[in-house]
Symmetry: D2
Subunit: 364 residues, 4 copies
């Protein structure tokens, strides 16, 4: 349903880059979930641009939870997060508003909203809106941890440089969650940053792949048709700006192999059913099997580049040239990470709530 | 909502491999859509196993539309398709029911349904259920064609063999829709079939990638957050059995490049706004831009193989060995194609109906 | 979402009076619910016309459960009920199709479906469709009983004759569920039947009020806004043909009194919180308080009467006269009773599943 | 879905009486709808307590639209209304928090939220939350007017005193919309006010019935099953605090009559199909027939009274006495009126959008 995601637990996003607030309403939360504002802020910090490899726009992200919380815990009623917009540039957007930035939503917003859209700074399409998503997601991430479910993502590749793969998932996730540039191999991370800076120096941008793992999921969650675990998670992931692909396990690699190469054999370990390999990424037939859920998200190179580009003036219906100015990210993959973790938390919390009821998330 | 997909136009799937019927209810259809039963049957034929490269189970797919149609047209009320199951083997499944087939949903069904599932022939997880999906999808595919929207898929790769890419989309789609083994390059198709037969001869299986194009979509359809065109389409695609990955345009390739390589420049052609390239696959910011929607779907190698596999007896909680017998597909990619087209039709019809209303699909 | 009701547990209805089948798909059911086909049939018998006070059309209601059941229990996958239509008259409806029966949906169907509707015998608007609803509802009613939740309705009034009110709810409900003409006071029931026959003799029809009680509901179910217990139940009730009003407790009587007359005082009884009176009908602020849910449903006089009526030919756009012939009910209130029980079961099962999860309904 | 209503157009409500803000997110709005802040404020004024017959709590209702609007018009993205809470009394609620006010949600909130609810001033159950609903509803009411659809309600009865019925709907609606105490007969209104003051003087409260008319609805809107026009409207109405009953037309009166008394004959007038009477309240078979939609809403006597009442301390599990102090409404029916209009606008806008698409509301 449009800007709302989820059935039993649902998130509604609102706000424009140059409006008074961006925000989110999280409904269906169990009462009694501890709200760790420090953790929310630390998640917002991970999303916030920082250093040379990010946009110069800096927001304080002054978070306010204005409903659904009481004495530090969720009440069970809709929880609303507001984040004021404070660092808007007062420049005049109207001069360039009809120059569609290639790879951006300027033209599609115009096609959809007939010119009534708030075009300043990307409007409702601005990555800024993800700050509200991250704040709401942080509450779910904490709650899921209390239930033994942990989510972590690393930059699997950026500008063609590959991080090492996951090894000990529990340790890797714990480590990643403290990093502002989430790589498992520090040396590769340094290479990636250098590549981002090099692209930035040329007025260009880079993309990459995020790999995410979810551990601790019980078996038996998801539906055989339509609300498959993969379908629900991917639906959420494609809301993360610049995401254009999602694969579970090594999907686009498995396609060239045989069943005997990729079937995950089951075995018993300590009275639990496990699989030797995890090519199916913790999901069989759309339903979790208790193994880690592992997926990769393709983040295209940031479309905002400084090089001159051919485009159109969509109001005049004429070809045009565009040279972007201002503040832009040469890469967003390191910032997108925490957004991916947030929507993942939302998707799996909703799947869990359908089966176990909304109270489950706060139960002991 | 579980086994239902879609808001304005919705499809509910039901049935088990060994039940009396599998079926689908399609609701939200505009009244007055012509029902071309020949076309439905031809779509079912494309899905039905045939020849050496498919399972030996053959169903007549004796289609019955038992509601929502009158005098050859949709009435606007829920349209129900029933397909009787007739070719079930009467073998005793109970002996092997607790031996989880690796890569299959036997164990996850047990975890979800506590042992009450109909385990015969894969039950509700059987690929057989897709016959109902294809029948319902055929009605949407025809209706979309009448609105100038065409969908087509080819086997982009199978067993490591690559088909040529799309060239003239309009021609390619038209041609593909008549092929039972949908490749653009016949020689590559012959190689793929040979590779499938070779795998079959070894009791093994292969996978592949389907590439789908949708032409004629108006600009301005989809939502910025959550119900992005990508999110809605991918949600539907992951219901196609064995699909483990989805990418729009060359997503997993773009990640290694730069913004300047992949941004799609706009230009004016005959007073229409187009893009020079189409790396964004017809979608910017979650919303269609009028260019073709193009995506690839990774289909893992069929998990049913005849080689002996290690597994568990999930009721006894013991390790076990499994040697499958019976009828199994060494590849399903050629059959999955029409299922992908069907869910694509469902996803885009729903997106269109949200914006234009449910009557639109039958309007002139 | 149109012909589907419910979120966690959902029911989709389909079928036309003169189609091959009417049916229902019930999704979100817990696995392991016993399916008591005898009980389903007995519920269908209660809905089926019988005797002088009902239509002469008689259907065998040959029920088939074609999915979602295995070895006498629900599997947890969508359960589909089919009921074949067998007693259609083969008369030619086309001559009178454009003569809108006053009080019926003929004209509104035409306005909505542009003339493509199956107009024979009321099509999708036929009360016949409720047979599928009753069959599906019966499964929920049984399951709720196993959880200690009982639903029962009586004909509170018919043709101006009042039944006695509920006294011992538990006893009254048990007794009502076996009656084909559900009154608590047999003498009043005899009067009502006589009044129905009198109206029938004049080619006319009568209406009435059903009063329903639900006992055993836990406190804490329902939502403060929108998905209030009252809102969800009433939404479902207005699908019962001829229902035009719903009140919880003595709502339309309370309006003339004062707060001090109708506030329900709380007290403790055996460590449980109860109310002395139950004017709020078991619901405060949209949420159940553990007391019985009690509501009344106004069923208008059946619109199909034999007296000549003024109407229009909506295809010619001309005034016309209509004299109905054929089989029609002079009253449907006694038959509507079991339909009301069925939609009530659906509404409360869905509310319960949201809070407690879908598995709850079959848990011990 | 809990605190969200609507499919194509949806409203999410949030906030607690003593939180920082109450608010609403309205999604699915067409772009380009004029936002008349004066009208929104005048609607808020109608809801706001005033004079002797309302609570002494006065809020400035300082409205802020923080997203979804640009240059005075809707953008088509989620529109968020915030209203700050400013007039909270700083009294200590904790002493009496466990004393369940009879007729209120204190105990059910506790049962649902396990004691984590914000109990101050009714929390999320406070009638205050309806201010946000009214603000959002005002935008829909204006937009519907531009499409020729008008909504108006009057106090049909209060404290047993009856207003005159609707006569010229168009004139009556126009007149009502300017009145703060919405009666058609001023003398009856004076009697009602006197009755409210009399009840207030005794520390007691009164209830009443609101009658609402919607004119200008096109024929053909609504669904035959479940999403009937009546079902959708009633679902929304039961969110209005103190509403316990809804009837369309004279439903609870028709039940005692015959079909020949209440069937609405059709006739042609100026090439339009109309009905002579309108007992079916503009709806046949769940679908609008183009006649005015007319319904009555039963508002129970306000539960907050000053007379001593028996109750329980639900945390100690003990019987107790309660004497309310502070600010309370002796009647809310005059304030509920604009809330009823608002939810009515929401329900019918959503029904219209499903059929005609979301853009329709702003189209010319």
């Amino acid at each position: 349903m449009k800007n709302t995601f989820g059935n039993s637990i649902s998130l509604t996003l609102f706000g424009e880059s140059h409006g008074e607030y961006i925000g989110a309403v999280l409904d269906g939360l169990a009462p009694g979930i501890e709200i760790d504002e420090d953790f929310i802020r630390s998640q917002l910090d991970l999303r916030r641009p920082a250093g040379k490899i990010s946009t110069a726009r800096r927001e304080a992200d002054d978070l306010r939870i204005v409903s659904g919380a009481f004495e530090g815990k969720t009440t069970g009623t809709p929880l609303t997060v507001l984040i004021p917009n404070t660092a808007q540039h007062s420049k005049d957007y109207s001069a360039t508003r009809a120059l569609a930035r290639p790879g951006h939503a300027d033209y599609t917003a115009y096609a959809k909203y007939h010119g009534f859209e708030d075009y300043r700074g990307g409007g409702h399409f601005s990555g800024r809106v993800t700050a509200a998503l991250v704040a709401a997601g942080a509450i779910l991430i904490s709650a899921l941890r209390n239930k033994g479910i942990y989510i972590g993502s690393h930059i699997k590749s950026c500008a063609g440089i590959r991080d090492r793969g996951f090894m000990d998932l529990s340790e890797d996730i714990e480590r990643l969650n403290d990093l502002s540039f989430a790589v498992l191999d520090d040396a590769k991370g340094a290479d990636m940053r250098a590549a981002i800076e090099a692209a930035a120096a040329e007025g260009d941008s880079v993309g990459g792949v995020l790999e995410t793992a979810v551990i601790g999921m019980p078996a038996g969650v998801g539906e055989p048709w339509f609300d498959t675990a993969e379908g629900v998670i991917s639906h959420a992931l494609f809301s993360v700006p610049a995401v254009k692909g999602v694969q579970f396990g090594p999907a686009f690699e498995m396609v060239d192999g045989r069943g005997s190469d990729y079937n995950d054999s089951f075995y018993i370990s300590d009275n639990e059913i496990k699989t030797v390999t995890n090519n199916n990424a913790g999901i069989n037939g759309g339903i979790t099997n208790g193994m880690p859920i592992v997926f990769s998200t393709a983040v295209k190179p940031t479309p905002s580049i400084f090089k001159e580009q051919a485009t159109v003036d969509f109001m005049k219906g004429k070809d045009a040239k565009l040279s972007l100015k201002g503040r832009h990210d040469p890469a967003i993959i390191h910032r997108a990470r925490v957004v991916v973790d947030s929507v993942t938390a939302l998707a799996i919390a909703d799947l869990l709530a359908l089966r176990y009821g909304t109270d489950w998330l706060a139960s002991l």
